[in-house]
């Protein structure tokens, strides 16, 4: 089992990273990465939802009719997202206010549906749960990486703590959508050209 777990985590975090390998979850990667704190909470919310949704869908996989499986997946995913929303509103209202509309948007994040279809439908519950955590963590890592640069250059701070002094003129572009596209595009380019994985090399990708 240990080898399986390691493979799951390696896949979710690097080889099959949902954002820069599978190019999933792009909308939220662009939207919340203007601040590191927002990215962290969004990422953790996604880890929770993906893990538990995958677990539940895997539990039901033998009973779910094939032709309605997407409806079932969407239903289960939205239940867990609403649980996250209620939990934030009740116990951490400041974070809930900061994330506002983005929490509801977790439902639309293709990573969750992607993992449910690709993994949870065909695997037992516990590996599905771990795969959910791994993909969620891979997403969170990418978000934090992008947010680090966007917040630092756009606000001069990291997690709200001012790092750059008064002499720094904020690159406001970095905290607006174009900045997000530049950062994300750069990251996808670097990870795929400098660090291609076996499947990309087999397809004839450029390996330096």
């Amino acid at each position: 089992m240990k080898a399986g777990t390691k493979k799951i985590f390696l896949s979710g975090l690097w080889e099959d990273n949902p954002v820069f390998r599978q190019v999933l979850g792009i909308c939220s990667s662009l939207a919340v990465t203007n601040l590191m704190l927002n990215s962290l909470v969004m990422g953790l919310g996604l880890v929770f939802v993906t893990a538990f949704s995958s677990f539940t869908i895997s539990l039901l996989r033998k009973y779910t009719p094939r032709h309605i499986r997407m409806m079932v997946q969407t239903l289960i995913i939205s239940v867990f997202v609403i649980i996250v929303d209620i939990f934030l509103k009740a116990y951490v209202p400041t974070v809930s206010a900061a994330l506002g509309p983005y929490v509801g948007l977790i439902i639309t994040n293709c990573i969750i549906m992607g993992r449910c279809e690709a993994f949870a439908q065909n695997n037992p519950p516990v590996p599905a749960f771990l795969d959910g955590i791994a993909s969620g963590l891979g997403y969170t890592a990418v978000l934090l990486f992008i947010a680090f640069f966007r917040e630092l250059l756009g606000f001069g701070s990291v997690f709200g703590i001012q790092i750059l002094g008064d002499n720094w003129v904020n690159w406001t572009l970095m905290i607006m959508p174009p900045g997000a596209f530049f950062m994300l595009g750069t990251m996808i380019w670097i990870t795929n050209s400098r660090f291609p994985v076996k499947s990309q090399m087999a397809k004839g990708g450029q390996a330096k």
């Binding site: 309605i68 649980i83 209620i86 509103k89 900061a98 905290i175």
Partner: protein
Amino acid sequence: MNKETPKKVPFMKTPVLYPVLFMVVLSLFLTGSLATLNYITGPQIAQQKALKEQRAILELLQQSLGDDLVPSDVSKIPPDKVQSLYASYVEKRYSNSIKSDYYVGVKEGSPIGYVFIVNGKGLWGTMTGLIGIDPSGSRLLGLTFLNHQETPGLGGRIEEPWFKAQFRGLAIPTADGDAIVYRTAGVGNVDAITGATLTSNAVSTMYNDAINEVKRVMKEGLE
């Protein structure tokens, strides 16, 4: 014609009956669980909302009440202290002329400020906030936000202390005209938020309208 005996389809493979039943049962179970969770956390969420409102009202009245009664950093006051301060110094009344609740800060029996609820259209959705007016109706005690959906990091910065602090003590013009004017080319009394022009304008429109309404009501009487 040789009529074949119909093949018995296992229940789980029936094209309509089983899927429909499955979805109905699953939906009932899931929505039931959510409704239960919602019910259980209902009071907690309502309490958080009330606490937020009480804290915002105290924030607006803090300077008039004084540092000895209410600590200057209202955001750091623990919840039970917020509740007891609110109970001691704030009265909630209903005004027929504006057809809504409003709040009065009371110190030693006399009013030291009025707080009104303000609603308006923000960039992404409705904004709700509070505005504080001193008893004479000539100055703003300040303004604050209860609910908004502005972009985090840009329009969302209206909640930052420096932005809200600009409105404390702002004079309300006796003649017609906007109380809040953003600085451009030397004219104006407050700064908007860089990169959040639309949200800043939504804020000024909303509160200027509220101030005009308050001016009228203070003249005619709040009852």
